[in-house]
Symmetry: C2
Subunit: 235 residues, 2 copies
DNA sequence: GCCTAGGTCCCGTAT
DNA sequence: ATACGGGGCCTAGGC
């Protein structure tokens, strides 16, 4: 279905594909309206609409990683033909959100029978960094002993909780990449919470473990008496 | 090109489309390898590969808003045929990253000539919330007077800086949606920085303006002597 | 180029 | 259902 297809055939192809649990794409000149957490309007242009069997809708232009408009998984797609123009209406609740794509012209419609049993395996994540530290705690500092991961505080969970060679409590916040001010704020919240929950005699140190740190984050660390340790997620 | 196409024709179609500045999609059974800021492997499965004229690559499965693998804009796409199988290699520098998609089978290849002159118009953003406050400062509190937006401090830019009816300095941090602990940390950084940069006599208040706030964030606000004002980005 | 913060962020996990 | 933090986040705007 590639050259100026008949509108009825287009609608039927999309509907049949969706009913069959296939992935359906529509390419053509369209307008897009979105309303929900925010709202948006997009004037006419050529775009690729991707409708997935899980209820995802993606509107892709010629540029950018991000779809210009979208609907997350779990939506219901409705296909209509009004005055000979194809309209796709995709909606969900909690939150209430609607996406409307109205095609002036349809250049192509395609149905794809998709099966995918493989799972993506990623390395270089924060989890890898955590394993590295747990297996070789001295990478953080000599004498460091991890005691818990995901230890809960009033401010949230500490990535790694442990003690240093002098017996001080240590809060470790891990980041897989260069850290900015936000990570310092996070570490500070955990350290402050743990100090409040500890006996007064206990010293609580805060360590930000990441490949590198920005200047401003470094200043913030110094201000709050926190420390930085350079460490990559991979060996 | 829809039914079990000839490998050479597939390669030529993809290459010709890319050369022509078109958007090209390839659907089929493939494996994907990524290496760069992290690295990943994905076993065989049916996916839709989208190659954009700006150098973006997207690998979409049957599920999810997010592509399972991708390459951001600015990459170079290379198309090869080795042992009769189609291989797409997409790479960039700074950071050095590569994406390899190897097709066992190709079900369909499509070329789309895309032009899109329209710009997306969005409302309900943080910018809208800012305009609302600047036009009606009393929505924040009676007597509030905005004096600057994006006022710089050592910790970063304050969304709205102003004074209250008593002449105290006021730091306003805006969020378009319900706020959590991270927003409190952000506001706290700005308030602390401004206090340091001000004369000691000056009182600096911190206001988090957002539709709502989580319990933990509310506690953090209280701890740090900061305040919350409920306000939606739209009227 | 890096830094900073916003986003209809999405997404998984825990509560 | 909400909350919280990670992400190869991406993207825009400054410097």
């Amino acid at each position: 279905m590639d050259a100026t297809p008949d509108p009825v055939a287009v609608r039927d192809t999309v509907q049949t594909g969706l009913d069959a649990g296939e992935l359906v794409t529509v390419f053509g000149r369209c307008r897009v309206e979105y309303d929900g957490r925010a709202s948006s309007t997009l004037g006419p242009g050529d775009r690729l609409l991707v409708l997935k069997p899980d209820g995802t809708a993606l509107v892709h232009t010629d540029e950018g990683h991000q779809p210009v408009n979208w609907q997350p998984p779990g939506c219901e797609h409705e296909v209509r033909l009004s005055d000979g123009t194809l309209r796709i209406h995709s909606s969900r609740t909690t939150p209430e959100e609607t996406l409307d794509v109205c095609f002036e012209t349809v250049t192509a419609v395609n149905r794809y029978a998709v099966t995918d049993d493989s799972e993506l395996s990623v390395s270089g994540t924060e989890a890898d960094l955590r394993e590295r530290v747990l297996e070789s705690p001295s990478l953080v500092e000599s004498g460091f002993e991890p005691r818990a991961t995901e230890r809960e505080t009033a401010a949230g969970a500490i990535d790694i909780y442990g003690v240093d060679e002098r017996g001080n409590a240590v809060v470790v916040e891990l980041k897989r990449r260069r850290v900015g001010p936000d990570a310092v704020g996070q570490l500070d919240r955990y350290v402050t919470a743990l100090r409040r929950e500890s006996h007064d005699e206990t010293t609580v140190r805060g360590l930000l473990v990441a490949p590198s740190v920005t200047d401003r984050a470094s200043e913030l660390l110094a201000d709050r008496g926190l420390e930085f340790v350079a460490l990559e997620p991979h060996s």
